[in-house]
């Protein structure tokens, strides 16, 4: 089972270990863990530079998704990665429901013989997941609920793979 959409937390170490368990041909496991941020220091600093207001602190967020399509979309992204690189294993976990700052929200791990393929495929999957998987974040802030706007930088990150970068 390479894709899971779940409310439960996950154990990154156990997932990484599972990708090479019982085999001796895996030389590289690249992984990514995404977490809920509260203070958005980087975003606030960027806003300050252009004279905009800093975004309010996030107290919690709720992840909505499109059951059925979500799993299909994630599996399609994994298949796309498997077609581009020689991968020995892939694991994608995305949490849904209510999460608070510091909580893990997404996990991607890729096993391959060499690190170049593992890194590239892991970053590719994250970039595509950000633009193609039907999840939506609603943040709770002191000023009330707020749906997170899609970031142009995510479209840009996903788009660079179409130009054949790798």
């Amino acid at each position: 089972m390479s894709v899971s959409v779940q409310e439960a937390d996950f154990d990154a170490g156990a997932e990484i270990a599972a990708l090479s368990a019982g085999r001796d041909d895996v030389g590289a496991v690249a992984s990514f863990t995404g977490l809920v941020r509260a203070d958005k220091q980087a975003d606030a600093a960027a806003a300050a530079r252009v004279g905009a207001d800093a975004p309010p602190a996030v107290q919690a967020m709720t992840l909505e998704h499109y059951p059925g399509m979500t799993e299909k979309a994630l599996e399609a992204i994994v298949d796309e990665a498997r077609g581009r690189w020689d991968l020995y294993g892939v694991r994608v976990i995305h949490r849904v429901g209510r999460l608070v700052p510091g909580d893990r929200i997404v996990f991607v791990a890729v096993a391959s013989a060499h690190r170049g393929e593992a890194f590239a495929a892991c970053e590719f999957i994250m970039d595509y997941l950000k633009t193609r998987a039907p999840f939506w974040k609603k943040e709770e802030t002191p000023q009330g609920g707020r749906w997170v706007d899609a970031r142009e930088s995510d479209d840009h990150a996903a788009g660079r793979w179409d130009a054949g970068r790798d």
Binding site: E64, Y66, K72, V106, L129, K130, F135, W136
Partner: protein, 84 residues
């Protein structure tokens, strides 16, 4: 055979519902035409016209406004995704 229509996130809240079912009207053959048809109902439904960068899916595949829609399909409308 009706089509099933799903709405998510901010669009779902704006419409006050997560789903609708309707008989595909004559002359409506694409996702874009279906969206315009629904938006023309007025009031809350105008959110289908005003949501920025509205995305759509047919049978759980992300598609563009020109994609075909036929009876029995599951069509979804939603804002740009923000997972991960």
């Amino acid at each position: 055979m009706n089509i099933k229509i799903l709405f998510f996130a901010g669009l779902r809240e704006a419409l006050g519902t997560g789903s609708a079912s309707l008989e595909l009207p004559a002359g409506i053959a694409t996702v874009g035409a279906l969206r315009d048809h629904l938006a023309a109902r007025g009031e809350a439904w105008t959110a289908l016209a005003t949501t920025k960068n509205l995305r759509s899916a047919v049978n759980q595949q992300m598609v563009g406004a020109e994609a075909a829609v036929k009876p029995g399909d599951e069509v979804a409308f939603f804002p740009p995704v923000t997972g991960g």
